[in-house]
């Protein structure tokens, strides 16, 4: 898909700048220019498409669709809605309470709350740009599985008593929510949103790819395989723990992970790390702490973390 760009950037670097092909500096600069612009193009395209599709959904609509759904099928639906619904963790409280109000079982709400940040547009665009569609599909597929099963297990634990704010369940059913917007307005909104996100993250991408390019050109593969990856048993849990505080920096961290995998880090550890970055969000936990008992949040993190660990180990074993 990007061969043309690989060749064009090679001409720019080796002929235009006069750097020598095969030299460490030349390869690092080529990799940097090629990778940054490729990721920028993909980021803009994917964020635009995702945010356009998302103008057809909102969490109020999801609540209508999830009302009255039984467990498991409700968990599956909630996890799928997590991909296409615009969601900001700052809305976690009204979402959580609003779903409870509509008598949606707590486990189903958690399936949505796990899936939505996991399948955020930045993570998907970065994965697609760096690893290709196969790894992206694996990430989304296993992310959904973690969201569905994680929510299902939390639902089975019957922890409603740990919700600190009393919610009166509504009687009757919700009416469908209509989103009336002209297509041109949807395109305009999606474009404005894409621009906002891009401005927020482009520097992180630049720095991430820059460090990645340095590693790519200067640090030998066996060095990384020995220290950052390989098949050591602790590689996956370490990846998950390191991923938790990285929440807001998915865009900057992922280019590094790509380089580390190309130099010997196992893909399972990389997947675990990326899922921990997106799904185990500390800011969201802090927000939810205002309405949920610490025990419930701990369990939520524990179950999701365990699921991510499993994904990592399974992949390291089979790939």
């Amino acid at each position: 898909m990007f061969e043309w760009w690989e060749q064009l950037s090679a001409v720019m670097v080796f002929d235009g700048l006069g750097l020598i092909k095969g030299s460490q500096l030349g390869e690092a600069v080529h990799f940097f220019i090629y990778d940054t612009l490729k990721i920028y193009m993909l980021l803009v395209a994917i964020i635009f498409i995702v945010s356009f599709l998302r103008t057809y959904f909102n969490t109020e609509k999801v609540r209508v669709y999830l009302q009255g759904k039984s467990e498991l099928s409700g968990n599956v639906l909630a996890a799928l809605f997590g991909i296409i619904t615009p969601f900001c963790s700052c809305s976690a409280i009204p979402l959580f309470l609003g779903f409870m109000q509509a008598r949606i079982p707590m486990g189903i709400t958690f399936s949505f709350l796990i899936s939505a940040p996991l399948n955020n547009e930045i993570a998907i665009a970065m994965l697609f740009g760096l690893f290709g569609w196969k790894v992206t599909a694996i990430y989304i597929g296993f992310g959904l599985l973690v969201a569905i099963l994680g929510g299902f297990i939390i639902g089975k634990c019957k922890l409603e008593k740990y919700v600190l704010i009393p919610v009166t369940p509504m009687s009757g059913d919700l009416e469908d929510v209509e989103i009336r917007l002209h297509v041109t307005k949807r395109i305009k909104d999606a474009w404005v949103y894409t621009k906002d996100i891009f401005i927020k993250i482009y520097l992180y991408v630049l720095v991430g790819v820059g460090i990645g390019a340095f590693i790519h050109g200067y640090i030998p593969a066996d060095f990384i395989a020995r220290y950052a990856g390989g098949d050591a048993w602790y590689a996956v849990p370490l990846a998950v723990l390191l991923g938790i505080p990285m929440y807001s920096n998915a865009a900057g961290v992922m280019p590094l992970i790509e380089v580390l995998t190309s130099k010997g880090m196992l893909l399972g550890s990389a997947l675990s790390f990326m899922m921990a970055v997106t799904a185990l969000s500390l800011p969201e936990a802090m927000i939810l702490k205002r309405i949920l008992h610490v025990k419930l949040i701990g369990l939520f993190f524990g179950i999701v973390g365990f699921g991510i660990l499993l994904v990592g180990y399974v992949f390291n074993a089979i790939l």
Partner: protein, 75 residues
């Protein structure tokens, strides 16, 4: 006219409040603008994402930071 901005105090909610003030000034109408921060009150409007814009008791937008121009168009 009564304009309510629903939000539990996130950055976007504050921006929406500011934009609503600008929109009212641009339109030159008389309106009361209130910030609703109590979560129980927010739930009563049936919104599940914030910030939300409520005009005379009717939810016009939720989960979106509207610009002043967009609010003018909605009023």
């Amino acid at each position: 006219m009564k304009i309510e901005i629903l939000g539990t105090g996130c950055a976007k909610c504050i921006f929406l409040y500011e934009n609503a003030k600008k929109a009212v000034a641009q339109k030159g109408i008389f309106a009361e603008i209130v910030k609703v921060e109590d979560i129980m009150q927010i739930m009563n409007y049936g919104v599940t994402s914030t910030p939300a814009l409520v005009v005379d008791g009717k939810v016009l937008s939720s989960g979106k930071l509207l610009s002043a121009e967009e609010i003018v168009a909605l009023l």
